[in-house]
Amino acid sequence: MSTRVEQIMGLPISLDLRDDDDFTEVVDDVFAWFHDVDARFSPFREDSEVSRYDRGELAAAGLSDDLLEVLELCAYYEQLSGGAFRARLPGRGLDPCAVVKGWAVQRAADMLKAEGATTFCLNAGGDVVTAGEPEPGRPWRVGVRHPEQPLAVCAVLESRNGAIATSAAYERGSHILDGRSGTPATGLMSVTVVAGDLVTADALATAAFAMGEEGITWAADRPDCEILIVDDSRRVHRTAGLALAS
């Protein structure tokens, strides 16, 4: 059992590992991976691969497989959301952050599993991957932050092997832009998506938030995911299959 918290990519990343064996080495690798992702993919670092590619210093043929994968994911979700989700807005530089975080955290969870870890909860700035059960017969309980009260939750979800991500505007202001208009997204207070992997959960949550009210039906129509959305009228919308803790 071990717990570790580090501030990377401007986010607190915490790992709560409940397996009995010694996973020190892979846990070190996981946090080194996050530092590596920050160095390579941050649009805020001039020497990152993303920034160099954006300035035309790297040809598409010279990109790493990781960045190609991230750009492919960006293109996929841009198309799926009808342009509401966009990694490159007119007049702005390339910003794949919305995909990179979920992708990097899911990769880290896969690293832990590949080394035999079965029971953990990895949380990067509120995007969560869970594995196993913290106690026999009890799933991980994931609180969904109340959109108006920082120290309260508005729902508690149960999760075993899965991923949960929430997009909202309350922590960093209106930082999610609707790619179709280039203006801050409006209509929703928060979007939480539960999916099998964090790449899907994080991208769908961001895209639905960017779409505004029509994101409610759009997210609900994605297969293999469950949603909980609070709209601007403080109404809660959730899919029937959402696993709420009792």
């Binding site: 700035g125 309980r141 009260q149 920082p150």
Partner: protein, 147 residues
């Protein structure tokens, strides 16, 4: 009696407004019909207290169908049943066929009240920045794990 009909019509209009937010087809009609009065009160705040029962016996059952309303999610038509002045059932007669079931009735405050009592291992949707993290629920949970 005219006033009763007016109130019922208003109630139906209220429900339709809610159903307009109900984007999916609704396979969970039963759940809605069984919603406690407090949840139903969101849509029909006036019905229980103001519906006069001058010409009705106190427990008379009245069932009324709303008109079929087209919304951007498809056609929605509800049927409501009152026992005396109390709303006892809502049945969805027509609903859009596309999309998945979504529940839209519970209000944030009611959801939040229920959630406060549960134990939590982690938090989604919080701790975007180190500044807010210092005062967040997630930081408290992580600190608990480190003990």
């Amino acid at each position: 009696m005219k006033k009763t009909i007016f109130v019922v019509a208003l109630s139906i209009a209220g429900f339709i407004a809610v159903w307009r937010f109900e984007p999916g087809p609704v396979h969970n009609t039963a759940a809605v019909a069984q919603a406690p009065p407090s949840a139903g009160a969101t849509a029909t705040p006036a019905a229980p207290s103001t519906a006069p029962s001058t010409s009705d016996s106190p427990d008379a059952t009245v069932t009324t169908q709303g008109s079929a309303e087209s919304s951007k999610y498809g056609v929605v038509q509800v049927q409501v049943t009152f026992t005396g002045s109390r709303l006892t059932a809502i049945t969805l007669l027509q609903a859009p066929n596309e999309g998945r079931a979504l529940t839209a009735l519970p209000r944030l405050q009611e959801e939040a009240m229920q959630a406060q009592s549960a134990d939590i291992d982690t938090i989604t949707g919080a701790t975007e920045t180190s500044e807010s993290y210092k005062t967040s629920l997630q930081a408290a949970i992580d600190a608990r794990g480190n003990r």
